[in-house]
Subunit: 428 residues, 2 copies
């Protein structure tokens, strides 16, 4: 028989226990933060009808950038590339039964058919946080506060990142003031969206190609700072007021690493109001970490009533890169707390009994069944990153007093089973 | 624009918060149990090379019963139908770096292309528990003990289920004693595997068609009880001794709802020794809940050294059905613990401040931003199954004493923020 490859499929990851430990650490922090704000978890299958994406995204993108295939029943199926269409579908389906506002979150895995590169794999997990049913900017403020709180809960300091905020309505008002056509708006938005990836010269040149040199340089000047934009549209413009009010409300929550950035686009598909992103200030990882915005029209495609919505997504690959660069990743330690070793097989019944007692007290215990020499049993615990060992010999069976050894410090304590239990219970 | 369907793809599930609550409850119990026994979590992508399944399963089954498609790079990709080939691949890849024995678990989602029916969907989640590197039956005993402990931890009583145990080696010894050919063994095994789904007459008739009436009725008689099998093979036969020793070791752990069932097959693909299953004794749900066994040869396909292995899988759909039939499902309650309401918008700053204080003490708090009438705000909390509300009016802002109302009992307590915190901390 020919030897089979042990490699994973291209662009996806195997999670060995050490990798899963990191992912679990990140997911735990995400869950804790969003649940603190009253968000409840939902989920769905990765399999969705291809129709769901064609409606908003266009046939071309669905076919080129997603995993889409035809099942044997003739159905066109897509491995979900994002969660927002799914949550919109689920809410539209039960619109009448659900009590709004809805605060929902999920950590789905998503699929993209593209060349794997730093921060972008073919499969990644993404926290999705969405608030449905509130029109006022209290909703936008809450969602941005959660995004901020996630990075804080992961250990980041305020100067590790900055929150950029913009508003699709100010962009539209700006385009209105320049009398831009639909086609010009689309091209200019696309250009602004990739502003940071091209040179200033290339940007100006392309802009003047779209809307004349004169208009282009004026637009560029207005976009260069929020002050210019405010002067241009007027401080009383509703979208300007809305955006500044959110920034003020955030500062009332002591969130001050915030800028009003008129060039922030966040794509330009379904956003209808505020858009925002969290940007890494570390020069080694200078890029957008994650973001979101307001999308009030998404449920239209299901013929449901209009339900205002605001939310964001945060990918696990980007999150891990951020934590790595800022030295915030935890050291691996096994979920197993104690490894029980036995000098000879005669102590097995006592070892089993002790393991049962500790497990009943919610302590995670592995029992040595390798039947190797005692030194090897202890070395094994070290290699598995299990923090404590107990060795059971004749004496321990007689006295029921066990020596609990901390493999990190080498410290040993003579304890009864119930003393071991209280030691672990106090630590937890 | 035509209206898009809000239905999910055929044979998969949407998890609304109430559904996700149930799944989270089950997963939490599974994780807790397996971690108590020292198992650590791993994971992998659902995308695998189709090759991985063809090696052991045969091309036909891969094409007919799995989701397999060709990606644009010409790779044949399968949505994993089971986790065992993946864990075998991962272990073979790092065989030299890993410290054995390995105790690993995962809760992957798996895909099968088949007609959806009770207990079998196109996508389901399955706990996988595996122990690699131990040849002795201490490993089999441990894994069966975990399977038992999972059902107990989910709330089941000992009489709700029975553990059936058999051994592929006793089956093989039995076939040897009948001088059966490879083809006869395959057909007889297949027939025994579906014994409970056909009548006794149909079973006997088909059996005599395969191996003559005389041999058939003798075989049937031997299979009718473990005592007959033991008499036939001899109590000193290694596979008989091994099986009975496991049953004895389980009884030393107070696990006594166990039978030695010579007809238990559990499929017959990669198992090489002990096989077992947990069977629901409730007449309304009389069926196999889950099971597993020993598979010592699986890493062969990667050209890796032989590593003994034993494990089992437990599906979430079956688990949920079991809990439903035995009335063990918990009542839904939101992960949000308190909903803070405000009489007027004037109390918003105080409400935000209280929410922050409670959240900093790890309490999950939602803040009303609907700006509806106070009665509606409280009704909303009830509909969301949030157990407590706090209403903030002028008095509360002044006194900083809040009335915490239990929406289930109607009971109200006047408390300071720190009293609220200690109330929730003691409850948890």
């Amino acid at each position: 028989m020919s030897k089979l490859s042990t490699e994973s499929y291209k662009g996806v990851r195997d999670f060995y226990p050490k990798d899963k430990f990191i992912q679990n650490h990140i997911f735990k922090k995400l869950r804790e933060t969003v649940e603190r704000f009253g968000y409840v978890e939902y989920d769905a299958s990765i399999l969705e009808s291809a129709e769901l994406y064609k409606a908003k995204t266009g046939e071309e993108i669905v076919n080129e950038q997603t995993y889409t295939f035809t099942d044997r029943g003739g159905r066109e199926v897509t491995l979900r590339p994002e969660m927002t269409p799914t949550i919109a579908r689920m809410i539209a389906a039960q619109e009448r039964e659900l009590a709004f506002p809805l605060r929902w979150y999920s950590i789905p895995n998503l699929f993209r058919y593209e060349k794997p590169q730093r921060g972008r794999l073919r499969e990644h997990w993404q926290l999705n946080v969405d608030l449905f049913g509130v029109e006022s900017n209290e909703a936008d403020t809450e969602v941005i506060t959660i995004a901020y709180s996630i990075l804080k809960h992961l250990g980041a300091s305020d100067d590790a990142f900055i929150i950029r905020i913009n508003n699709r309505k100010t962009i539209n008002a700006l385009y209105d003031s320049f009398n831009l056509s639909e086609d010009e708006r689309y091209k200019v938005s696309k250009l602004i969206d990739k502003k940071n990836k091209i040179s200033k010269e290339a940007f100006s040149r392309t802009l003047s190609d779209i809307i004349t040199t004169e208009k282009g340089s004026l637009l560029e000047q207005i976009l260069s700072s929020s002050e210019h934009l405010i002067t241009h549209l007027g401080a009383e413009h509703p979208a300007i007021k809305d955006t500044r009010e959110i920034i003020k409300k955030l500062s009332e929550q002591n969130i001050t690493n915030v800028v009003f950035d008129p060039t922030l686009m966040r794509g330009f598909d379904y956003y209808t109001g505020v858009v925002f992103e969290l940007f890494d200030t570390n020069p080694e990882n200078s890029r957008s970490l994650f973001g979101g915005g307001r999308y009030d029209d998404l449920l239209d495609i299901f013929g449901a009533r209009k339900i205002p919505a605001v939310g964001f997504g945060m990918g696990d690959v980007t999150a891990k890169d951020f934590l790595e660069v800022h030295d915030l990743l935890p050291q691996y330690t096994s979920s197993t707390q104690v490894h029980i070793c036995t000098l000879t097989t005669l102590q097995k019944p006592a070892a089993h009994a002790l393991a049962r007692t500790l497990r009943n007290a919610n302590i995670n215990v592995s029992l040595d069944i390798s039947n190797k020499k005692i030194g090897d049993q202890i070395r094994y615990a070290t290699r598995q990153h299990i923090p404590y060992v107990i060795v059971i010999g004749e004496d321990e069976v007689k006295t029921e007093i066990y020596s609990l050894k901390n493999l990190d410090t080498g410290e040993e304590k003579k304890l009864t089973a119930s003393e071991i239990i209280s030691l672990f219970t106090t630590h937890a």
